[in-house]
Amino acid sequence: MDPTSSQPGSPAALSDAALVRLVAERRPEALAELYDRFAPTLLALARRVLDNHADAEEVLQEVFVQVWNRGERYDPARSSVSTWLVLIARSRAIDRLRSRKVVERTHEATAQAAVGASGLGEPHTSPEALDNVFIQERHERVRREMAALPAEQRQVLEMAFYQGLTQSEIAAKAGLPLGTVKTRTLLAMKKLRNALRPEIRQLL
C-alpha cells in the first residue's frame, strides 16, 4: 500500500512491507499499525468462515501472533502483505472450522444474527471499522466486482475460498458436474483478475 498522509516516520506512514520488516525486528508499534490496517478485513474473513464472532477474534489473535513470530519469513517476491495476511487468516480459520466440525454450534439470536456486506455498514458495526482510506476503497471496489459476478460463479468461488472445499467437494455439495464447477471457477477468477487489475497493480 502507498504511504498515507500521516506523519512521516510514524508507522502509519509506512508501506505494508516496511511494517512487516519492522515486525521482524520485534517492533510492536509496527504490528499495531498492521493490525489497525488489516484486522477489520481479517476479522470479517474469519467470521465468514466460522460464523462466530468470538472464534473469529481468536483466529485474529493467532494470525497476528504468527506474524509477530514469523515476520521474517515474509517474502515480497511471493505475495503482497495483504494477500499473505489474508491467506494466513483463511488457513487458521479453516483449520479451526475443521477441528470443530463435530461440535454442534450454538448461536445467540441477536448479536450474531447480522452478517455480511452492506451499504450502510453492518448493523451495530462501527462505521469507522476501517480508518485507512486505501483499504476502504479496496473494499468498495472488490465488493462491487464480486457482486458483478454471476451468482453461480461467485458461489463456487466462495465455497472454495471460505469453506476450503476442493473442486470435487464443491461438485458433490452443489450437485453439479465437476466440469461445470471448474468452468465456473475459471470464469469467475478470470473476470476478477481483469476487473481487479488496478488493485492488483497497487499490491504488487
Binding site: 510492536p28 499495531a32 484486522a39 477489520p40 476479522l43 470479517a44 465468514r48 464472532h53 468470538a54 477474534e57 485474529l60 489473535q61 497476528f64 501472533v65 504468527q66 509477530w68 513470530n69 514469523r70 511471493r78 505475495s79 503482497s80 495483504s82 494477500t83 499473505w84 489474508v86 491467506l87 487468516a89 483463511r90 488457513s91 445467540e108 439470536a109 441477536t110 448479536a111 444474527a113 447480522a114 452478517v115 455480511g116 456486506a117 452492506s118 451499504g119 450502510l120 451495530h124 479496496r138 473494499h139 472488490v142 465488493r143 464480486m146 457482486a147 451468482a151 461467485r154 472454495a160 475460498f161 471457477t185 477468477m189 478470470k190 483478475r193 481487479l196 492488483i200 499490491l203 504488487l204
Partner: protein, 372 residues
C-alpha cells in the same frame, strides 16, 4: 478454450491448488519449519507460490502470482468488522511477554512441543544452574578437605570466602601432585580422604543434575499451566466481550424503542411462502437511530442471505445483510438511516449481498413512514 487460455488455466488452477492442503505441493524444506510442520493450509499460506505451474516458466509464474493476489483480495468483498478494543489490547499484552516466541513456536509444533519448551526453559535457566552448581560443589569439596587436612597442612591459613575456599582446595590438589616425597609418611587416611572426596563430588554432581532436571520439569509444568490459564482467561474474556456487545445492542434497540416520539412501523410478509414472517421497525425522532425486530423468518437456503433496504429518494440503499435461525427472533439496529427513507424492504439475495435489490421481497412496510 483457446490454447493461450489453457496455459492461463493451469496457472489459475495452481493458485487454487495452493489453497488446498490435499492437492498443494509441500513447501520447500529451506523455508519450512524444521520439526513438525504446521497444518498444510497454514503452511501453504506462508509459501504462496510453492506449487509451480507447469509449462511456461516465468510467464506462468507471473500468472500464478496474479491469481494468487486475486484470491487474496476476495475477503475485501466482505464488510469489514471492527474487532473489540480488548482484542488489540490483549494482543499487544501477549507481545510484551518475553518468552512469547518460544512458546508460540512450540505450540505450532504440537508433538515437538515438550522438547522445544524444555530447550527454551533450559536456555532461559542456563545461567542460574551454572551458578547454583558452582557454589555447592566448592562448598562440598572444600569442607571435607579442610577438616582432615588441618593437622597436616597447618601452615595454610583457613580462608573464609568462597574464593578462599577454592584456593584452599587448589593447594590440596597441588599437595597431592607433590605428595610423592611425603607418601611414606602420609597416613592411609589421605587416600581414603581422596576417595571420599571423589565420591562426594560424584554424589553432589548427581544430586545437582537430578535437581536441575526436576526444576526444568517444574518450569515446563508451570509454563503449561500458565498457558492453559491464559487461554482460559482469554476465552472467558472473549465470551464476556460478546455478551457485553449483545447487551449493548439490546440497550441500543431498547433506547430507540422507548425514545420519545418514536415512530413504529409494521412489516408484513410480502410473499405467501413466508406468510408467518412479520416485524416491527422503530425509528427514533432523529430519524437516524432505528431498531427492527423480526419474527417467523425462515433460515435462508444455501448461499442466500436476507438484505434490508431503505427506499429513499435516490432509490434503495442497503441497510445490511443478515441470517435467520429457526424459531429465533432477529434483532437489528443502527444509528444511521438514509435521509428521505419512505419505505423499507427485506429481500432474499445471494451471499454476500447485492448492490441493489434483485431477489424476491420477503417483508415490506405495512404502514407509511412519515417525515423521514
Amino acid at each position: 478454450m483457446s490454447e493461450e487460455l489453457t496455459s492461463e488455466d493451469r496457472a489459475l488452477l495452481a493458485a487454487l491448488a495452493a489453497l488446498q492442503p490435499e492437492t498443494g505441493a509441500p513447501a520447500s524444506p529451506a523455508t519450512s519449519p524444521p520439526a513438525t510442520p504446521p497444518p498444510p493450509v497454514a503452511h501453504l499460506a506462508q509459501e504462496p507460490n510453492q506449487p509451480a505451474p507447469p509449462g511456461d516458466g516465468a510467464e506462468a509464474e507471473t500468472l500464478t502470482r496474479l491469481y494468487h493476489e486475486v484470491l487474496g483480495l476476495m475477503p475485501f468483498a466482505l464488510a469489514p468488522a471492527a474487532p473489540s478494543p480488548e482484542a488489540k489490547r490483549r494482543l499487544l499484552a501477549r507481545l510484551a511477554e518475553p518468552d512469547l516466541a518460544g512458546r508460540e513456536s512450540a505450540a505450532a509444533k504440537a508433538p515437538a512441543a515438550a522438547p522445544a519448551t524444555l530447550a527454551a526453559a533450559e536456555s532461559a535457566t542456563a545461567a542460574a544452574p551454572a551458578v547454583a552448581q558452582a557454589a555447592p560443589v566448592t562448598l562440598e569439596v572444600g569442607e571435607p578437605a579442610a577438616a582432615p587436612a588441618a593437622p597436616a597442612a597447618a601452615e595454610a591459613p583457613a580462608p573464609t570466602t568462597a574464593a578462599g575456599r577454592q584456593e584452599r582446595f587448589a593447594p590440596a590438589s597441588r599437595s597431592r601432585s607433590a605428595s610423592v616425597p611425603v607418601r611414606s609418611s602420609a597416613p592411609r587416611w589421605l587416600s581414603a580422604l581422596a576417595a571420599a572426596l571423589i565420591l562426594a563430588l560424584l554424589g553432589t554432581c548427581g544430586w545437582l543434575l537430578n535437581d536441575l532436571r526436576e526444576r526444568r520439569d517444574a518450569i515446563v509444568r508451570l509454563a503449561a499451566q500458565r498457558d492453559a490459564a491464559l487461554r482460559h482467561a482469554g476465552e472467558v474474556e472473549a465470551r464476556l466481550g460478546r455478551l457485553t456487545s449483545q447487551v449493548g445492542s439490546m440497550r441500543d434497540s431498547f433506547s430507540v424503542m422507548t425514545s420519545p416520539a418514536v415512530e413504529v412501523c409494521n412489516l408484513r410478509a410480502a410473499t405467501p411462502e413466508q406468510a408467518d414472517a412479520r416485524g416491527m421497525l422503530f425509528v427514533a425522532a432523529d430519524h437516524q437511530h432505528w431498531a427492527m425486530s423480526l419474527r417467523g423468518l425462515r433460515p435462508p437456503a444455501g448461499g442466500k442471505v436476507y438484505q434490508l433496504w431503505f427506499v429513499a429518494d435516490q432509490g434503495p440503499v442497503s441497510g445490511g445483510t443478515f441470517a435467520a435461525r429457526p424459531g429465533a427472533p432477529v434483532e437489528l439496529g443502527s444509528d444511521r438511516m438514509p435521509a428521505g427513507t419512505k419505505a423499507v424492504r427485506i429481500t432474499l439475495e445471494s451471499s454476500p449481498g447485492s448492490p441493489a435489490p434483485s431477489g424476491p421481497d420477503v417483508l415490506r412496510n405495512a404502514d407509511t413512514l412519515h417525515a423521514l
